[in-house]
């Protein structure tokens, strides 16, 4: 809620600093009441990091803050053993879908990374490998390998062949801004539909005007970037589609249409107590939604309130 409020003030033109994209977080009173040492013990490393980035001492001047997206809040579907729909391919930590609330910061990432890697995977991957232990090494000149290699080679070549004028970073920035504006901390049906349209347009423009210098037979970071950005359009579309079908507010998904009188997220447990698993159907085909019901036995679902 604090993040949404910060963005709302900036959008309304009340932001501070050169860019107008920040609000003040002032520790003056907290330092006055608790003393500098108490604050230093709690937030010392964060304050240090802040000073390093901004060159401003947060003990004497208010901090300037603004929310930023840093995680997609979703990932590859996995079963209880952490295996994806591709047999033998496991996804752990932030690469798989996961359980979290409205925010997902370092601690929840670290928890999942440790939980998956330390406690689950050592017990489950061995089970898979045990059936495969005598298979031996698989030669890479098989039909599947050659097909996969050919497919990647074609994709790389098609990006190199565009010979446009715009850099991958520029498309990346425009993509990010688009997602932030239409599928960000607040979203509504109209905006999401608009976002989907704009994503299609941007993707079209990408394949028409991407510029990748250099060649393919060497380290080519621009090519790496371009290939990543090319994939983002698909992920971005999926995120918009998913946000559009979920007619409720829940966790980080805040739909303007579904909020309480005080501006809190309003869930619809009768219709949306499920995890959305989208089945990939190929590059141009629409994905299919599979609903995995969330069943709560020990606790009952309630409205989240910190009041």
């Amino acid at each position: 809620m604090a993040s949404r409020a910060a963005k709302e003030r900036c959008d309304a033109g009340y932001g501070v600093g050169d860019t107008g994209l920040s609000v003040y977080l002032d520790f003056q009173d907290a330092i006055g009441n608790q003393g500098k040492n108490a604050i230093q013990d709690k937030y010392g490393n964060l304050f240090e990091m802040y000073e390093k980035i901004t060159g401003i001492n947060p003990y004497t001047q208010p901090m300037r803050i603004y929310p930023a997206g840093h995680y997609t809040m979703g990932g590859l579907w996995v079963d209880y053993n952490l295996m994806t729909t591709i047999e033998g391919l496991y996804a752990i930590g932030e690469s798989n879908f996961s359980d979290h609330g409205a925010n997902r910061l370092g601690a929840s990432s670290l928890m999942q990374c440790s939980g998956d890697g330390y406690f689950i995977l050592p017990n489950t991957i061995g089970d898979y490998l045990s059936a495969d232990i005598r298979t031996g090494s698989i030669p890479t000149n098989g039909k599947e390998f050659e097909e996969a290699e050919e497919e990647v080679r074609e994709r790389i070549q098609s990006i190199m062949n565009v010979g446009g004028k715009q850099t991958a970073s520029s498309f990346h920035k425009r993509f990010g801004k688009l997602m932030w504006d239409y599928c960000g901390m607040r979203r509504d049906a109209e905006g999401l539909k608009k976002g989907l349209e704009l994503l299609d347009q941007l993707e079209e423009e990408f394949w028409d005007n991407i510029c990748v210098p250099g060649t393919t037979g060497e380290l080519n970071q621009e090519l790496e970037k371009a290939l990543k950005v090319a994939d983002f359009f698909e992920v971005g579309r999926l995120m918009c589609e998913d946000a559009l079908q979920r007619e409720e507010s829940c966790g980080a998904h805040f739909r303007e249409e579904h909020q309480t009188e005080t501006g809190e997220a309003k869930r619809d447990d009768a219709n949306f107590a499920f995890v959305a698993a989208w089945e990939y159907r190929g590059p141009k085909a629409r994905p299919i939604l599979h609903k995995e019901a969330l069943k709560f036995e020990a606790v009952e679902l309630k409205e989240r309130s910190y009041k």
């Binding site: 980035i53 060159g55 330390y118 850099t167 510029c211 380290l219």
Partner: protein, 253 residues
Amino acid sequence: MDFTLKIWRQKNAEAKGSFQTYPLREVSPEMSLLEMLDYLNTQLIESGKEPVAFEQDCREGICGSCGLYVNGRPHGPARNTTTCELHMREFTDGETIVIEPWRAKAFPLIKDLVVDRSSFELIMLAGGFISINTGGAAEANSLPVSKINSDRSFAAATCIGCGACVAACKNSSAMLFAAAKIAQYALIPQGRTEARERVENMVRQMDDEGFGFCSNTYGCEFDCPKGISIDFIALMNREFFSAKVCGHKKTSD
């Protein structure tokens, strides 16, 4: 701000490299050095030239990917700062900034400012882990750790493996890196079981990779972006000596 950049350009490990000069205008003092390079690269690409290859990932000083030798110092002039956290306000307007890759035999150059740091990975693979089955979480009181040791272990664990210590050393020694990775386990009970073979294996791997010996100039500590103390090298030496003297149970290879 306006700068003159002298950047090491080299197509690949075999090609001959050289410094190229690039004037760059209207750089914001709020840009990090990497953002300044992004800005330069955009201009290079748009004028049909090849951008400068450099490594980066998190851009918040915790991943250890970025490492550039700036004006003769690993990660540039600011103390306790990675290249991505180095901002242009640290430089003066009109300055000439010289940017080079890490130079060390054990870090072969791949392209421009990118070097291959697999040798660090190999040192880690030689023993930078604890190979016990964890099972359920143990009763915390069964493994007491003193506050002093837990703090020291944590301080060692802040090493991000960027390689600045190697770049700072006249002998291209990786001892600060190896020492930090050995110390983070040596100081806690979970790491004691394999402590002796760990130190032997990691030191052997470090030597095999072609890193030099400690030059005792403290350059590594001075230029380490995480402020890792050279005391850990003393700890590693003690661990190594004790492993050599006391020996250890040979585990099957």
